[in-house]
Symmetry: C2
Subunit: 153 residues, 2 copies
DNA sequence: AGTAGATGGTTACATTGGTAACCATCTACT
DNA sequence: AGTAGATGGTTACCAATGTAACCATCTACT
């Protein structure tokens, strides 16, 4: 005999719904108050962390496909938050970084986001926080290596 | 001094990206092979578990808004997987349950999904599986009760 | 050098998902 | 009973996301 499915205890559902709630709660900060979309937010964080990158690399670091990156970049550029300069190694690509306004905006958002994160994790002990990330890492790894489910014969 | 943000260690990002990978991996089963969408899948599972429900309740149990439920239901109905009968207590609503074909289809999918879940969780010990759900529960609860972040004055 | 195929990035098109307006009915109060 | 507002559910409309085609350039090989 095998147990039967229940959404409430089903990891895909729980994880999805948690991710959405987290994302929504966080986005109140940068969407409502700063008019930044989620993909734009990811680009901002990444450029703030790495300094200067080309689109391709931003895509890798944020797990977004090139179309999404392109749109996010063009949105941010339109608002003067980015700076581009040609990439001399490859003239198809360009190198992107935060403009002064972009960096300034980011510095206003970042502390609020950190405060929000701290508030979210507040009920978890240090150990729990660590194991949360360990578990996520393990599942991520598993997904990358797990064989596809076989259809029955 | 406070730490600065990095996507790779940022819970919203990690959780989102994990949820997407999980969802994608799982959906190979019911999307590719059975042509069922994600919302439809949730409705199926819920009706399989609860027997007979009205749309409103399905929405609550699956965390989907009424539009999404309506579309999922109409998709499943079009394929003859559901049965509706009028709700005598409220003539606006109807009661939904799986049709015979629906139940049969579900019974073909369920064991595969359970096998997939087991494969996913395989690298986690029993304790780890438990703490994973405990952590998710805690975060869920926290999100429901957490105060909004205050804008700086 | 020249050509075939791969790659960075953008644009155009189709699909999906969300928001808002809507209709029918229900509830509660006069 | 009659009316005002709430609610179940569908439809219509608009924003976001993914897929596919595209252009320019690069790489590698002859």
């Amino acid at each position: 005999m095998s147990k039967s499915l229940s959404l409430a205890g089903f990891l895909p559902y729980r994880c999805n719904s948690l991710a959405q709630k987290i994302s929504f709660s966080l986005s109140r900060i940068y969407v409502d108050r700063f008019g930044i979309t989620v993909p734009e937010w990811r680009v901002l964080v990444t450029l703030a962390e790495y300094g200067e990158l080309q689109s391709r690399r931003i895509g890798e670091l944020t797990s977004m496909d090139k179309v999404r990156v392109s749109r996010a970049v063009s949105g941010l550029s339109a608002r003067g938050l980015l700076q581009r300069r040609p990439c001399d190694r490859d003239s198809r690509a360009s190198l992107l970084c935060l403009s002064d306004t972009g960096a300034e905006l980011y510095q206003r958002i970042e502390p609020e986001v950190l405060a929000w994160e701290e508030a979210l994790l507040q009920p978890l002990s240090t150990t729990e926080r660590e194991s949360l990330f360990v578990l996520i890492d393990k599942l991520d790894l598993r997904l990358a290596t797990m064989p596809a489910v076989e259809p029955p014969p």
